[in-house]
């Protein structure tokens, strides 16, 4: 059961030229997708069937948006789950914080969804795609906060590298506005899990020329870190500028 709130009509809808991601063609579902992306019907059948769960992020700003969208889907999925079935030792005040963070991530996710496909006609992800929460221990406060910290730290780490890759200045400015909200989330959940652990040395450089600056991760590093949670789907970003 998918945890994200995407259109259930994914299979019925054409993936237009502005398609968010490329799913390779093997399953019945993905065959339909590829057939509508402009590929010639005379394309020879590949000798080796491609992986039906391989999702390749496209090049350019659209790929950047897609990557950011996946992060927002992951966060919104986690926080929605925390609100739907909160750990019994998560306090009322903490649940309110998670509700706020859920709201923020839903806003971010929907803005990215709109940026990718302004007329909202495309389903961006397969219906059975989900950010898999099974390996998190969401039954305890500590597990909830650890999961939230892991995601927020990753997002904070990648945005300083992601933002300069945008060629569209308006989009870059908008996602700059969301990036500090993620940093606020990160500090908040870090402080809840371990008081005073905001901006600690594990996430901020403590020596050298970059001392006092957040430790960064490339989009590829983030996809590797999140790969277990996207399984069975495999997300790759081989195209510029994400791949750089």
């Amino acid at each position: 059961m998918s945890e994200h709130s995407l259109s259930p009509n994914w299979r019925a809808q054409p993936l237009g030229r502005r398609g968010f991601l490329r799913v390779s063609a093997a399953s019945a579902a993905t065959v339909a997708i590829v057939a509508t992306t402009g590929c010639s019907t005379s394309t020879p059948t590949p000798v080796i069937p491609p992986d039906p769960h391989l999702i390749t992020l496209v090049a350019g700003d659209q790929g950047l948006l897609s990557f950011a969208y996946l992060l927002a889907v992951a966060q919104a999925t986690l926080y929605q789950k925390v609100i739907d079935s909160p750990a019994s030792d998560l306090s009322v005040a903490e649940r309110a914080i998670f509700t706020d963070m859920r709201d923020h991530e839903v806003v971010h996710r929907q803005v990215l969804r709109y940026a990718i496909n302004p007329d909202l006609t495309l389903a961006l992800l397969p219906t059975d795609f989900a950010f898999n929460l099974a390996s998190f221990n969401l039954g305890t406060r500590a597990g909830v906060l650890a999961a939230a910290q892991q995601l927020e730290d990753l997002v904070v780490a990648v945005y300083p590298l992601l933002l300069p890759l945008f060629t569209n200045g308006t989009q870059r400015a908008l996602f700059l506005k969301t990036s500090s909200v993620h940093a606020r989330h990160a500090a908040t959940v870090r402080d809840l899990l371990t008081p005073g652990s905001f901006a600690n040395d594990d996430v901020v450089e403590n020596a050298g020329q970059l001392a006092g600056q957040v430790r960064t991760k490339t989009p590829t590093e983030v996809l590797v870190a999140l790969a277990p949670y996207f399984a069975p789907y495999v997300i790759t970003a081989p195209n510029a500028p994400l791949a750089v």
């Binding site: 300083p160 005073g196 001392a211």
Partner: protein, 284 residues
């Protein structure tokens, strides 16, 4: 509040996109190779208004860091002001501000630019004149008053870094560093807000219209305007002309609407450099 935020929005209106002669002056800002610049810089008119050239951007951020650093240095020097349990927090924040100041100073020096002299800072708002009215009472004697000022300066820091992040168009390494520091400022701000909430203030970790306002005299409103003025902005743009249609975007899967203040909370706004500088000038 509404008037102030309106003024702030007017002040934040984008300047005409005409290039100024200074725009590319520090085109190599941050690179050690350019030692030949100082003569040209020295000839700049002293009264040049800020146009967010790379030099202005770094100079403004340096001033911001110096204000923050001075506040934490002075506060940590007052025995008992910061509770023992939080001393380490503010030592960490102060260490980061020291590192940011050193980084920005180095960036100017590497570009061959003159490093502005640090003014003396007075957190009472009296500008060092004992007969002037006190605008920020008890900042260095009452922990809650200290925290309130720290929160506003950290929020302002997030906003000014945001504003300047892409004013530094000519040095991608420096622009990235500004983005990395921007994130650290946001973590500081969220932490200070959390500390205040722990002491009974009605405040979230992110600027929200649900926050209880920090009461300041009229002469100190420039700080409030710079820290959170316009933060309630409900309109965002992905293109210059068409606002994002949040009304059609924001139904959660089961039809539950998001909480009303959450939309504005989801975006931290930038601040115009004029507004930021007016606030920082309260302390020197």
């Amino acid at each position: 509040m509404k008037l102030i935020s309106l003024l702030d929005r007017l002040a934040a209106a984008p300047a005409a996109p005409t290039a100024t002669p200074r725009r590319n002056l520090l085109g190599q800002l941050g690179r050690a190779a350019l030692a030949a610049l100082p003569a040209g810089l020295a000839a700049l008119p002293a009264a040049a208004s800020p146009k967010d050239t790379p030099f202005d951007a770094v100079a403004q951020l340096l001033l911001l860091e110096r204000v923050q650093l001075a506040l934490y240095t002075q506060a940590l020097a007052v025995s008992g002001l910061v509770p023992a349990a939080q001393v380490a927090d503010f030592q960490r924040i102060r260490r980061h501000q020291t590192q940011h100041e050193a980084f920005l100073t180095q960036a100017l020096q590497n570009a061959g630019a003159a490093v502005p002299t640090a003014p003396a800072f007075d957190f009472s708002g009296r500008h060092g004149v004992a007969t002037n009215p006190v605008l920020f009472p008890n900042v260095l004697s009452n922990y809650d008053d200290f925290l309130a000022l720290a929160q506003q300066l950290e929020d302002l820091g997030v906003r000014l870094y945001k504003t300047q992040a892409f004013a530094i168009t000519t040095d991608s390494q420096l622009a990235r560093a500004v983005l990395r520091i921007h994130a650290v400022e946001a973590e500081h701000a969220a932490h200070v807000r959390g500390l205040r909430r722990g002491r009974g203030a009605v405040v979230k970790n992110w600027p929200s219209e649900a926050d209880a306002p920090i009461v300041r005299p009229a002469a100190a409103q420039a700080l409030t305007a710079a820290a959170t003025g316009g933060e309630e902005n409900p309109t965002q743009n992905l293109t210059l002309t068409v606002p994002i249609p949040f009304g059609t975007l924001l139904l959660i899967r089961d039809g539950t609407a998001i909480h009303d203040p959450a939309l504005a909370e989801a975006f931290d706004e930038p601040v115009s450099s004029a507004t930021a500088l007016a606030a920082l000038a309260l302390f020197s």
